[in-house]
């Protein structure tokens, strides 16, 4: 049997698992840091755990087509839960673990979840809270027993007890598991992933085994990934990216996945694992860079000078060296020296020294941030993707990486720009449907399989790469007819480390205005070094000096915008610094931390109106939700400032392009 034929027979995850047990039984499949030590399971050991769990789930009544909810941080047992469900022909439905009980109730009910596999007491408590509203959930299985000793509900089960029941069942019905696995087909539903939903209720994206496995394999082929990769699974399991990088591609290529000890230790665990293949949304790269810069500001002078000198050199030649473009011998030697003294140690601290391929997606990444990593020699690339096609739509090819494009279509992906400027695509990864939502399915996916992305974009004439401007529905117009692309401007603001979030307003208005969220770490550190006293976020956000600092950022963005004649009139005229951090618990961000612009606009309508008046201050009172679900109210006087507006500079336009 040749490789290709063998691959087509491996059309489900349990079958892939069995093949790794044959091919590489003693190689590590998954790792987890526990009690300060990395514990690992080989493919053979993982397969035994999964078999026991699958049989145990069967004894609890999980059958073909049933749904298994999976809720918790990245844990081997939760990943095994996915494969175990798939072995029985059931469908895993991972949920965002930090969602409050109400949000979970919607998904549990909408997805017809029969059994929930959860991490710990925190999640069990949420299950108990929503139990009345979700009578379809028959059993809850928990991984970590801590604090659960005195819970006596009969539908609660310890993970190990379920596995023991499974082992006993397997013993009496030894052909059960293999028969169930053999019954599975590529066209079966593999997984249901709920999209976080920038608008309305989340929708369950139904993906088949073929969707997931073919897409994962295409990604592996394009980037030459092998069974020797190391990855860290630290992003939410409910997110399609984690499912692709930490689950699907691991099963297809056979590489090992490591789970951090705790969400708070991910950075140091990253360093210990030293991943070769790494994925992070832009904000993670931003945070890393901010931390580095804060620490360098506090470093001894000689170190700071060394760092600045070599980073300057890296900015000059680093990207060209990574792209294998020719550079002078002197530059090349100086870069090598810099690698020994600065770049290498820095990459080591970041945990990216061995990284061969790093992806970023989900949001635009700041060109400075992007170039910072690339100049260090880290091959970070942007990709463009969606849950609806198991991630891959476009990927930047090696050597053709530009900060403002998302690259060329991934393998087997066709892309068109429709008449409205919206990007549409077709691929083997295209989802089957939104679960129990035929209207949404019909409005997103055409009968011949083309999917509407909702993003506006175009192909760059010079290099043929796809460029994304904004969400198609968000691109608006100012009253004078100027194109208003809010996200484009927000991203420019967010590229400053002092700005954590920005929310732009302007569609159907006379001019653009902005809400700014400062970055507490970066601005706090900045303030401390200037001996500015502040008692907390609200106080800091209201400091005159901070306003001046942010005004400088806004002015720079305006200067930038003034150089593009299409966007020059959308310069920010007035802005304010918001008195609280935008928070997913208050509905201001999605769970993937994207700003819900219209929601924020409605919630703070008094502030928006003040921006379009000549007031310089506005009193605002806001309901806030604390982490434990209680609510309170927050009052503040928010100042409003004018920003500098630059004349349209059409001379520079050529140079900028």
């Amino acid at each position: 049997m040749d490789q290709k034929e063998q691959d087509t027979n491996l059309d489900t995850f349990p079958k892939l698992l069995a093949s790794h047990v044959k091919l590489r039984p003693t190689q590590d499949a998954i790792r987890e840091k526990d009690l300060g030590i990395w514990q690992s399971w080989t493919w053979a050991e993982a397969a035994a755990e999964i078999r026991a769990l699958a049989c145990g789930l069967a004894t609890l009544g999980l059958k073909r087509g049933d749904k298994l909810a999976i809720i918790g941080d990245n844990r081997p047992r939760l990943y095994w839960g996915m494969t175990a469900a798939q072995a029985l022909g059931a469908v895993p439905v991972p949920l965002y673990q930090d969602a409050v009980a109400d949000e979970m109730a919607y998904v549990l009910d909408n997805a017809d979840v029969k059994i929930a596999l959860v991490e710990d007491q925190e999640q069990v408590d949420k299950m108990l809270e929503v139990r009345d509203r979700c009578p379809n959930v028959e059993h809850v299985i928990f991984d970590d027993t801590r604090g659960l000793r005195h819970y006596e509900q009969e539908f609660l089960h310890d993970f190990e007890t379920v596995q023991q029941a499974g082992v006993a069942y397997d013993h009496d019905h030894s052909d059960f598991y293999d028969r169930e696995v053999a019954t599975g087909k590529g066209s079966d539903v593999s997984i249901m992933l709920y999209t976080s939903g920038t608008t309305g209720n989340p929708k369950g994206v139904v993906l088949s085994n073929d969707n997931v496995i073919i897409t994962a394999r295409n990604g592996i082929i394009r980037e030459n990934l092998t069974s020797k990769e190391e990855v860290l699974a630290y992003l939410p399991m409910a997110w399609v990216g984690d499912n692709l990088f930490s689950y699907a591609q691991s099963y297809v290529a056979g590489f090992c996945v490591s789970c951090p000890e705790d969400a708070t230790t991910a950075a140091s665990d990253l360093r210990e694992i030293g991943p070769t293949y790494y994925f992070a949304p832009p904000r993670v790269y931003e945070n890393m860079l901010t931390q580095v810069m804060i620490r360098m500001e506090d470093a001894a002078e000689i170190k700071r000078k060394l760092f600045n000198y070599f980073m300057e050199h890296a900015r000059k030649v680093g990207v060209r060296i990574l792209n294998r473009e020719p550079v002078s011998l002197k530059d090349s030697l100086l870069y090598k020296l810099g690698d020994v003294l600065v770049y290498g140690p820095l990459k080591d601290v970041l945990g990216l020294r061995r990284t061969r391929l790093a992806y970023t997606a989900g949001e635009a990444i700041g060109p400075e941030i992007f170039d910072f990593y690339r100049s260090l020699g880290i091959n970070i690339k942007q990709l463009y993707g969606q849950t609806e096609c198991m991630v891959f739509i476009c990927v930047q090819p090696d050597g053709e990486v530009y900060a403002d494009t998302v690259g060329t279509p991934a393998i087997d992906v066709e892309i068109k720009i429709d008449d409205n400027g919206e990007i549409i695509y077709r691929s083997p990864g295209v989802f089957r449907e939104y679960y129990k939502n035929p209207e949404s399915t019909a409005s997103t996916k055409t009968e011949d399989g083309w999917v509407h992305t909702g993003d506006a974009g175009f192909f760059d004439e010079h290099n043929g790469h796809l460029k994304i401007i904004d969400r198609a529905k968000d691109v608006g117009k100012l009253n004078d007819g100027t194109l208003f692309a809010p996200k484009y401007i927000e991203n420019k603001l967010k590229f400053f480390s002092f700005v954590k979030e920005a929310v732009l307003f302007g569609d159907g208005r006379d001019y653009s205005t902005a809400f700014i969220n400062i970055d507490l770490d970066a601005v706090g550190n900045w303030a401390e070094r200037r001996n500015l006293a502040y008692s907390g976020y609200i106080d800091l956000a209201n400091l005159e000096e901070v306003y001046q600092l942010i005004k400088d950022c806004v002015d720079k963005v305006n200067k930038d915008l003034s150089e593009d004649s299409r966007l020059a009139n959308s310069q920010i005229r007035r802005f304010l610094i918001l008195h609280k951090e935008l928070d997913a618990d208050d509905g201001e961000l999605t769970r993937t931390r994207k700003v819900r612009r219209s929601f924020v606009g409605d919630r703070y309508d008094t502030l928006v109106e003040s921006l379009y008046s000549d007031k310089t201050e506005c009193h605002v009172e806001t309901q806030v939700t604390f982490e434990d679900g209680r609510t309170g109210s927050l009052a503040a006087d928010v100042q409003i400032r004018d920003a500098e507006v630059f004349k349209v500079n059409s001379v520079n336009q050529e140079a900028a392009a």
């Binding site: 009690l35 300060g36 030590i37 604090g147 000890e261 708070t264 604390f626 434990d628």
Partner: protein, 263 residues
């Protein structure tokens, strides 16, 4: 509140009186602590709460009265006796080794569990090595329990106050105490930190069955956590009973609570 407290008394003090010169700090105090319960001591500043804990773990020696711990009656405790017999405590003012890491601070709490001598430990071979591994594992379990993995190797002096308090609890737990004395574990914390600490106190009590004596000023916390509450005022015993009794006791209201709690 917990289900485990049994009628068995782990500690009883009888007619304890303590004076420093003419200052009478404790005046004929008698109470008991049952195995497995959470027992709170409340009272205004200077009521003698911390002194009472100091008497229990042998740091202060009372002039009168007796202490019965696990069936053995003594005139007074000595610190090493208390520690060896399973009493551990945390302090009102954090008493950690600021320059040492979280892990090392917790390991110092294992000191009494280490049997090998300095010589073997320095060589790090044979029994000393086995012992160190066992103790490290115990320390790691506490780190996991308290959710402080991220600060395992950070010097505690650099940690925020709330986390230092948590590390201090960790060090006390490392001794695997039967009776844990907590002196204002939530003082100076914000409401989120307090909530976490309450969770830990309840979890320590229910997971390990540890008996807890708690000094705390936050009445909400005391009334929610405690099985029984002892009230002191200027060295005198004002009341003793379950939270509801104490809450409705007129003397206590006058001296301390002010207005009755609405629940």
């Amino acid at each position: 509140m917990n289900q485990q407290s049994s009628p068995e008394t782990i500690l009883a003090v009888e007619n304890i009186s303590l004076s420093f010169g003419v200052m009478k700090v404790l005046d004929s105090i008698s109470f008991d602590i049952r195995r497995g319960e959470i027992r709170s001591i409340i009272g205004p500043n200077g009521a003698g709460k911390s002194s009472m804990l100091n008497v229990i773990n042998g740091f202060y020696h009372p002039q009168e009265g007796s202490i019965t711990f696990k069936g053995e009656t003594r005139k007074q405790m000595a610190p090493h006796v208390a520690a060896n017999h399973g009493i551990a405590r945390t302090f009102q003012n954090i008493a950690l080794f600021k320059g040492m890491s979280t892990l090392d601070n917790i390991m110092t709490g294992r000191n009494l569990k280490m049997k090998t001598n300095l010589f073997w430990q320095a060589l790090h071979i044979g029994p000393a090595r086995v012992e160190e591994l066992e103790n490290r594992e115990a320390a790691e379990k506490i780190i996991d329990f308290l959710g402080i993995q991220a600060i395992r190797k950070k010097p505690v002096g650099k940690l925020p106050y709330g986390l230092q308090k948590r590390v201090e609890l960790g060090r006390a737990l490392a001794a695997e105490p039967e009776l844990l004395l907590l002196d204002e574990p939530m003082a100076g914390m914000n409401s989120e930190e307090k909530e976490d600490m309450c969770r830990f106190v309840l979890d320590v009590n229910s997971e390990f069955g540890t008996t807890i004596a708690l000094i705390e000023h936050d009445m909400g916390v005391v009334m929610d956590l405690s099985d029984r509450v002892l009230v002191l005022d200027y060295g005198k015993q004002l009341a003793d009973g379950v939270p509801d009794e104490v809450r409705n006791n007129q003397d206590v209201i006058d001296a301390y609570l002010g207005v009755p709690h609405e629940h």
